[in-house]
Amino acid sequence: MRSAARGLALVLVALYSLAPFLWQIVTSLKPAHELTSLPPLLPSRIEFASYLAIFSDSPLLRAVVNSLIVAGGTTLLALVIGALAGFALARLRVRRRAAILAGVLVVSMFPPIATVSPLFLLLNALGLHDTLLALILTYTTFSLPLAIWLLTNFFRSIPEELYIASRVDGCTPFQSFYRVMLPLASPGLAAAALLVFIFSWNEFLYALSFTATTASRTVPVAIALFPGLHEVPWGDIAAASVVVTLPLLVLAMVFHRRIVDGLTAGAVKG
């Protein structure tokens, strides 16, 4: 009885999350003149014209590569820097810990539309105009508050005895961090990594403002370049959105194990 109710709930949740996206997929397969007619709900015949179009005419492929580099680089940097800081704030003696956490948080409170101009000036001054590095640097900075707060929380939830035990065994704090604490915090690390990756993948405002050519444009900007002056190619946009969302879903499935099963495999607790 309970599992039937649970099963129903799961189906509803899946439908709720999937339905609008399913609609995108349906739209991307419809012939052009049926895009806004309802009925028919489903395409009268399936056409892959939109998918062909987005790869032949547009620099979408290059944009996907750029996005992979930027998102990957950002995730790596933000996680490394964030884990180091989170560990220190959770387990080491830090004066003014609350002030540091608050200060870090303030960074994420600035509205992006206000920071885009001065950041543009700064990045230009550093010679980073129209580069992927500019985006990596920016995204890392704005991902750090979330990463630090999350990782502080996850490191703190690991019982202190484990840390003390590892120190007693002769580890330096760094060794303890690297060998003992990191593996134990892997659900939090994986969750943070996934969120940072998605944020960098989908960020639009800075990507638009700091890049000028297809060599450094990322996915959201490439998609924003689809429409013409008045015309909006809905079929193409729908196809592109399906294509660019899939890598994230694959990543989510890969990380799922880490996030959800991380602690059940041979952890020593209490």
Binding site: P20, F21, T27, A88, F110, P118, F177, W201, L205
Partner: protein, 287 residues
């Protein structure tokens, strides 16, 4: 002993240094820039910049458009964050125990968060379209979702809840996994009901994480811009204009950089205030 403590503090500094350097190197200049601009009358169309002290803030206090935007924003934030939190928690609880195909479902529930905003906002604009949108087709009605001054903000809230619930669910699910199983086993042995287990074990253990999620979702919801701007442009009749949309219009459409920066600072202050209130409230509520 004193050297030992100093050593520990120095080591802590080493761990914190990369974060400190990155954040200050990138954000120090923008922060000062925005604060300085907010004290200036700087609009390229109006002529040379002048320092005017707090005049921008005085103007802000009497600006009906700002207050309208603030009310819209607060309402939007409160309702959507509550919705996301409740739904996200339910989703996390639902997915907690392993079952076949959980990995796939996990990826599916992440879809709303994973779709780029530039796409999902347009997608919802189409779903909500009164003439050929799927929603009206399914309801067999002609509801003017986005064109009615009362409905529009709620339509935007619904879109945001749909989009952001996975963020909450993802984090709370990771948090749930950190709670040791033995606690539940011991409670079961003592004959505790599921509700008691939730109230006594799950909820307190999750509370710190919920606070983090709450803070970050509030910060993001308060600064919402892209999605609503695409959906309604702030209309109809400015009923969905948020403070960020107002700041955007000032900074990048009417090019009033000084006053726009003041609005940005006001956003910052409001969010900081909300965060402080949260932290205080949750400190009162947690055991």
């Amino acid at each position: 002993m004193a050297t030992d403590r100093r050593n520990r503090e120095e080591r802590a500094t080493l761990f914190l240094a990369p974060a400190g350097i990155t954040l200050s190197a990138v954000m120090l200049f923008p922060a000062v820039y925005i604060l300085w601009l907010s004290l200036e009358r700087r609009s390229l169309i109006f002529g040379t910049p002048q320092f005017i002290g707090f005049d921008n803030y005085l103007r802000l206090a009497h600006d009906p458009q700002f207050w309208n935007a603030l009310v819209n924003t607060v309402y939007f934030t409160v309702v959507s964050v509550q919705g996301e939190l409740v739904l996200g928690l339910l989703m996390a609880l639902l997915l907690r125990r392993p079952f076949r195909g959980r990995g796939l479902l996990y990826a599916i529930i992440l879809i709303p968060w994973a779709i780029p905003t530039v796409v999902s906002a347009r997608m919802w604009e189409w779903l909500y379209n009164a003439d050929f949108g799927v929603l009206n087709y399914l309801f067999q009605a002609r509801i003017n979702w986005l064109g009615n001054p009362v409905w529009a903000l709620h339509a935007a809230i619904a879109m945001d809840v749909w989009k952001s619930t996975p963020f909450v669910a993802l984090l709370l699910l990771a948090g749930l996994q950190s709670i040791p199983r033995e606690l539940y086993h011991a409670a079961a042995v003592d004959g505790a009901s599921r509700w008691t287990m939730f109230r006594r074990i799950t909820w307190p253990a999750l509370l710190p994480l919920i606070l983090v999620v709450l803070i970050f979702r509030t910060i993001d919801a308060f600064r919402v811009f892209d999605s609503i701007y695409v959906l309604t442009g702030g209309g109809p009749g400015s009923s969905t204009e948020t403070v960020s949309i107002y700041a955007y219009k000032l900074l990048f459409q009417t090019l009033e950089f000084g006053y726009g920066s003041a609005v940005a600072v006001a956003i910052l202050m409001s969010v900081a205030l909300a965060t402080v209130v949260y932290a205080w409230l949750l400190r009162r509520v947690s055991p």
